[in-house]
C-alpha cells in the first residue's frame, strides 16, 4: 500500500530512536520482586493465617464461656438468695 511505503521511508531515521534493552537486568528485577512477594505470601500462609484462625477460635470460645456465665448469673443469684433466706430463718428466732 502506498501509505505504508511512504511511512516506511521514515524508518531509517526513526530507527535511531530505538533504545537498547538490558533484558538480563529487567528480568533480574522482575524475578527479585516475584521471589520477595512469594516469600511474604509463603510466610503468611505458614504462620500468620493459622495464627489468626487460632486466635479467632480462642476468642470465640472465650466469648461463649462469658455468655454462659452471664446468662447463668441470675440463677446463681437467686440460688444464693434462697440459701441466705433459709439460713436467716434458722438463725432468727
Amino acid at each position: 500500500m502506498k501509505d505504508d511505503r511512504d511511512l516506511a521511508q521514515l524508518r531509517p531515521f526513526a530507527a535511531s530512536l530505538r533504545q537498547e534493552v538490558d533484558v538480563a537486568r529487567l528480568v533480574g528485577n522482575v524475578m527479585g520482586r516475584v521471589r520477595a512477594h512469594r516469600t511474604v505470601t509463603d510466610w503468611l500462609d505458614r504462620w500468620f493465617r493459622p495464627a489468626i484462625v487460632t486466635a479467632t477460635i480462642a476468642i470465640a470460645i472465650g466469648c461463649a464461656g462469658l455468655y454462659r456465665q452471664t446468662t447463668q448469673m441470675p440463677d446463681l443469684v437467686s440460688a444464693a438468695e434462697t440459701r441466705i433466706l433459709a439460713e436467716a430463718e434458722n438463725v432468727l428466732p
Partner: protein, 184 residues
C-alpha cells in the same frame, strides 16, 4: 527442571514454577518494552511498565487459559498498564514533551546530524498522535515490526493496524512531504 521450549515453559509457569516464568520473561521482555514504548514517551517509563506487566502476569497466571499464546496475553497487560499511566499523566504530557525534546538524549550516538534532526522531528510528530495510533506507528517506524506482528502484539486485526497507520500517516503528512522533497 530443564526447559527447552515455550510450551514446556508455559506449562511450568501455569504450575507456579518460577523457572518457567523466568524463561518466558527473558523471551518476551524486549517485546514488552517495545509495546510500552509505543505508548510512552520516556524509555525508562516503558521499562517500568514492562516490568510491572511481567509481575502482574505472574500474579494472574491462573487466568492464563490453556492453549493461549503467552506473547499476546502479556502484550495486552502491557498495553493496559501503559494506558493507565497515560491517563494519570495526561495533565503533565506537556512536561514530558519538554523533557524528551530536544530528543538527543535518547538518540543513538551513531545518528548523523541531518538524521538526528529528522529523528527528532519524527519523535515529536509521534508524540502528537493519540495513544493507539502512536503505539502502532511507533512499533512500525521505530521498532520495525510489520502489520501482522503489531496486530498480534496489540490484539488488533491487521486491518485495524493499517487503519491506524493510515490515520497516523495523515498526521505525519507534512513530515513526509518535507522528507520527500529533501530526498529528491
Amino acid at each position: 527442571m530443564t526447559l527447552h521450549d515455550e510450551a514446556s515453559a508455559i506449562e511450568a509457569f501455569r504450575n507456579g514454577d518460577l523457572s518457567g516464568f523466568e524463561w518466558l520473561a527473558t523471551r518476551y521482555m524486549r517485546e514488552a518494552v517495545s509495546v510500552a514504548r509505543g505508548f510512552l514517551a520516556v524509555h525508562a517509563d516503558a521499562e517500568d511498565v514492562a516490568q510491572d506487566a511481567m509481575v502482574r502476569a505472574w500474579n494472574k497466571r491462573d487466568r492464563f487459559r490453556t492453549g493461549e499464546r503467552f506473547g499476546p496475553w502479556l502484550h495486552r497487560i502491557v498495553a493496559n498498564l501503559a494506558l493507565d499511566v497515560l491517563k494519570h499523566r495526561r495533565r503533565v504530557r506537556e512536561e514530558e514533551i519538554a523533557v524528551t525534546h530536544p530528543a538527543s538524549a535518547h538518540l543513538q550516538p551513531e545518528a548523523v546530524a541531518g538524521g538526528r534532526q529528522k529523528a527528532e522531528r519524527i519523535a515529536m510528530a509521534l508524540e502528537g498522535l493519540p495513544p493507539m495510533q502512536r503505539a502502532v506507528a511507533s512499533l512500525f517506524l521505530v521498532e520495525g515490526y510489520d502489520h501482522a506482528e503489531i496486530a498480534g502484539m496489540l490484539s488488533l486485526s491487521e486491518g485495524t493496524v493499517r487503519s491506524h497507520l493510515s490515520l497516523a500517516r495523515k498526521r505525519l503528512r507534512e513530515l513526509l512531504q518535507e522528507f520527500a522533497e529533501s530526498a529528491s
